[in-house]
């Protein structure tokens, strides 16, 4: 296989060199160190750590809540992006700037703020309490925190794609007899689907790694509201570096598999389109 075949643009060697160099130093090397640390464990110790009921519970919460948060943002992020792109209203620029706030805020601050609002005596929590709904210190709180933290990803990924949907396309569809819902389903959605998936992937990946905001609102009950990153920190605090590395490797592998699967799905979608052409 020749590397040079891909493009006739000059400079491939140089840029590819830089790409591998930076990836190695910043991403691959630390990951390798992590794997190495875990590999120095005895196999039965490794299994014991990563398959302990406490660890399994934390995986379930981490992946479940992250997936749910990303899914919620998929829907509401699309709606927010649509509103920001399509409508003119007084505070549009302001709201547009607010979208990025979860990025800028230290995540711990977000967690504390959410806890204040949703605790059983908080502004919103006190109204939910009589209905038997508890958000703070349950898995709902974890999902809520992750939703807040990852909200910008979907909005920012979809916004440019929505901007690109030409109004002419909708107008054309309308003159051809299509109703509003038909246009949204057959014209707009297919156009923004790839960036919607990208936004979902980013949000999901970010949610998996989130730590700061979750620990304040989660309550951190082992087996119930304890996320994997927290479990790793607990191992670290007990100077159990190997245990921490083992959990880290598991997260690494599962995340990689999930992200890779989503990427494959996107590539498959693109291929479907191209195949329709021949």
């Amino acid at each position: 296989m020749s590397f040079r075949k891909a493009s006739i643009l000059p400079g491939f060697g140089l840029t590819f060199g830089f790409t591998t160099f930076f990836l190695s130093v910043i991403v691959l090397l630390p990951l390798a160190a992590l794997t190495l640390a875990a590999a120095s464990m005895h196999w039965s110790d490794f299994v014991h750590v990563v398959l302990s009921p406490r660890a399994l519970g934390s995986y379930r919460l981490s992946f479940g809540a992250s997936f749910l948060a990303a899914a919620i943002n998929l829907v509401f992020g699309l709606i927010i992006a649509w509103t920001l792109v399509r409508y003119e209203f007084p505070a549009r620029k302001l709201i547009d700037a607010l979208i990025d706030m979860p990025f800028a805020l230290p995540t711990a601050v977000s967690g504390i703020a959410l806890t204040t609002v949703f605790a059983h005596n908080g502004w919103i929590g006190r109204f939910l309490e009589p209905w038997g709904v508890r958000i703070a210190y349950t898995w709902l709180g974890v999902t809520l925190a992750l939703t807040l933290i990852t909200m910008p990803f979907v909005v920012r990924a979809v916004q440019p794609a929505l901007l690109e949907v030409q109004r002419d396309l909708e107008d054309a569809a309308e003159t051809l007899g299509a109703g509003r819902i038909y246009v949204a389903r057959r014209i707009i959605l297919p156009t923004v689907l790839p960036s919607l998936l990208t936004g979902f992937t980013l949000a999901f990946a970010r949610a998996l790694g989130e730590y700061g905001s979750v620990i304040f609102i989660a309550g951190n009950l082992p087996m119930k509201t304890e996320i994997t990153p927290l479990l790793i920190v607990i191992h670290l605090e007990e100077f159990d570096y190997q245990g921490a590395a083992a959990l880290g490797v598991v997260m690494l592998v599962i995340s990689f598999v999930v992200l890779f699967a989503i990427n494959l799905l996107q590539a498959w979608g693109r291929r479907q389109q191209v195949r329709a052409a021949h």
Partner: protein
């Protein structure tokens, strides 16, 4: 009629982008809406398609009122400049879109698709994606897609804008062929006059939201009625001339007009000389056509079949004035010459030539130019730089001549010069302007424009006349003004309080005025009926909203200054007075 528009108006942010457009397009007609960008032609097309609502007026397709019908139920096909193909669908899916929406069965869909692909000469490309086609092919697909549901009307919005010259020509021919084959009523929007000529049965020309003129391409080209159409449709030299009983006098020479005019009075007119109607020769005697002036060749440009030149007219009072370039020295005439003409008399830049004119067309516009009149040269100069006056003159491609009248407004004082008033005379507003206006009108001025210090470009023009003698002239002047400003026209009819009972009579007068404006001057206007004293009712109406202008017709000057003093001297609105004495 396939498409009927009745007083269609659309505002964006208070500015009318489509302004009182009325239009009938016949069955199977190929109609071209031509205008510069921002003239409202695309908005009008979108209004016909139903993609833009209208604020006022009615749209009917094949006799069915569709003003409030959604685009998807109007049965029109629309083609966009940027093709607007669905990029994630194949050519086949694109073309079948309208049929799929209508739940047409697969076999029928594919039969129709084959038929359409043959029509636009794209057989066999069914399974391609738009991105795999050239621009010309994509636009063909867009045409086929727009025709799939057998619309009654095909609308094309600058469909060739994104294509290069050769493809453009090919596609033009295809579209014209398809249109003839199907006999479908078609409206094409373009800013390209060559395209309009090549395709249209009839052309409608838009500017500032108004439909200025329409007609067969040849008629519009040879006999434009407005300076905008004259200069937009092909190149034109506009000259200020005088109409005399002998013909059209331009500087020293008099040329016969191309057509006779019923108006026999001697006055300033705007003459149109097409570049190809100009003849160049070494001397006055060598000219085969009427002599115009001497000039110096400024520039010669070879462009294939034709040679285009700019010829600067010799300085001096004898030379005819060009209506644009503010009559300044250095104004030059556009000339085009064919190969045989070039062989007959070769010219180089810098050469002195005699200029002849083969054909002159006189515009029927009553507003030829402006005169800025004040008591001193400095004040006249300042007035001619007044923003609204300068703006109007620029938009009308005309000049502002200064005129000094030291005794302006002094009763019984004579005019400073013997020269007659030329064009519309502008004076500054403020104290004493009503007496000054009357003074000028009594000394031969036919139109006087009173300009307050800081008037805005008007968004609404109120029209009123007193006495039938001035009606026709007022309408003509109003039409001329309204062609150059994007304003809505409102005819205000005012009856004395004590005659309030005769409302029916008043309504008939309103309708008569409206139809005369429409028929004789192509001016669409709204109408209002009011009761009370004329001057104070008009003043009250003017004070209701900012950016209004008044055009008022007079046939009797008695008591004018007294009754209009308040309206003229206190308001921040420009007032144009049109005076035609009762016979």
């Amino acid at each position: 009629m396939s498409i009927t528009l009745d007083q269609v108006t659309k505002h964006y942010g208070g500015v009318p982008v489509v302004n009182d457009v009325s239009l009938d397009i016949g069955d199977g007609e190929f109609f071209v809406l031509l205008g510069p960008s921002g003239s409202g032609k695309s908005t009008l097309l979108r209004a016909i398609a139903g993609l833009t609502g209208v604020d006022h007026g009615r749209i009917a397709l094949h006799g069915r009122d569709v003003t409030h019908v959604a685009a998807r139920k109007r049965g029109v096909g629309l083609v966009f400049q940027n093709y607007a193909l669905f990029r994630h669908m194949t050519v086949a899916e694109n073309i079948e879109f309208a049929l799929r929406v209508r739940h047409v069965r697969a076999r029928e869909r594919s039969r129709r698709r084959q038929e359409l692909l043959r029509l636009v000469a794209l057989e066999g490309l069914d399974q391609r994606l738009p991105a795999q086609l050239s621009g010309g092919q994509q636009q063909r697909v867009a045409v086929a897609r727009a025709l799939a549901h057998k619309p009654e009307v095909l609308l094309l919005d600058e469909p060739f804008g994104a294509l290069d010259a050769k493809i453009r020509e090919e596609l033009r021919r295809t579209i014209r062929q398809v249109q003839r084959e199907l006999g479908i009523t078609t409206v094409l929007v373009t800013h390209d006059q060559e395209e309009a000529f090549a395709m249209a049965d009839r052309i409608g020309i838009m500017n500032h939201g108004r439909l200025l003129e329409m007609g067969a391409p040849h008629d519009l080209y040879s006999r434009p009625a407005t300076r905008f159409v004259a200069t937009f449709l092909g190149a034109a030299n506009l000259l200020l001339a005088r109409r005399t009983p002998d013909g059209i006098q331009m500087g020293v020479s008099t040329v016969a007009a191309a057509e006779r005019s019923p108006d026999l009075g001697e006055h300033e007119v705007v003459a149109v000389v097409r570049p190809e109607e100009v003849e160049l020769a070494a001397s006055r005697d060598a000219l085969k056509s009427g002599y115009l002036a001497r000039g110096v060749v400024d520039e010669v440009m070879f462009s294939g079949a034709l040679e285009s030149l700019r010829v600067r007219l010799a300085n001096g009072a004898q030379a005819p004035l060009l209506a644009h370039a503010n009559g300044a020295a250095g104004a030059s005439l556009q000339v085009t010459r064919t190969q045989p003409e070039q062989r007959g008399f070769e010219v180089r830049p810098g050469q002195e030539v005699a200029i002849g004119v083969r054909r002159v067309h006189v515009l029927p516009t009553p507003l030829s130019s402006f005169t800025a009149c004040a008591v001193s040269a400095a004040l006249a100069e300042a007035l001619s730089r007044q923003p609204l006056l300068a703006e109007l003159a620029a938009r009308m491609h005309t000049r502002i001549a200064p005129r000094v009248e030291p005794h302006l407004g002094v009763p019984d004082a004579p005019s400073a010069t013997d020269e007659p008033s030329v064009g519309a005379t502008a004076i500054a507003g403020g104290s004493d302007c009503s007496r000054r206006a009357e003074w000028l009108l009594r000394r031969g001025a036919r139109e006087v424009l009173v300009l307050p210090e800081q008037p805005a470009v008007p968004q609404r023009v109120l029209i009123h006349w007193m006495g039938d003698a001035s009606r026709s002239a007022t309408l003509a002047v109003s039409a001329s003004v309204l062609r150059h400003v994007a304003a809505e026209a409102v005819y205000v009819s005012i009856f004395p309080e004590e005659r309030a009972g005769e409302q029916r009579h008043g309504l008939r007068e309103l309708l008569d005025a409206r139809s005369e404006a429409q028929l004789a001057h192509g001016l669409e206007m709204r109408t209002e009926l009011r009761f009370g004293d004329v001057a104070s009712e008009l003043a009250r109406r003017l004070a209701e909203a900012p950016a209004q202008m008044l055009i008022v017709g007079l046939s009797d000057l008695a008591g004018f200054a007294a009754s209009f003093r308040v309206l003229l001297e206190t308001g921040q609105w420009p007032v144009l007075i049109v005076y035609r004495a009762s016979p």
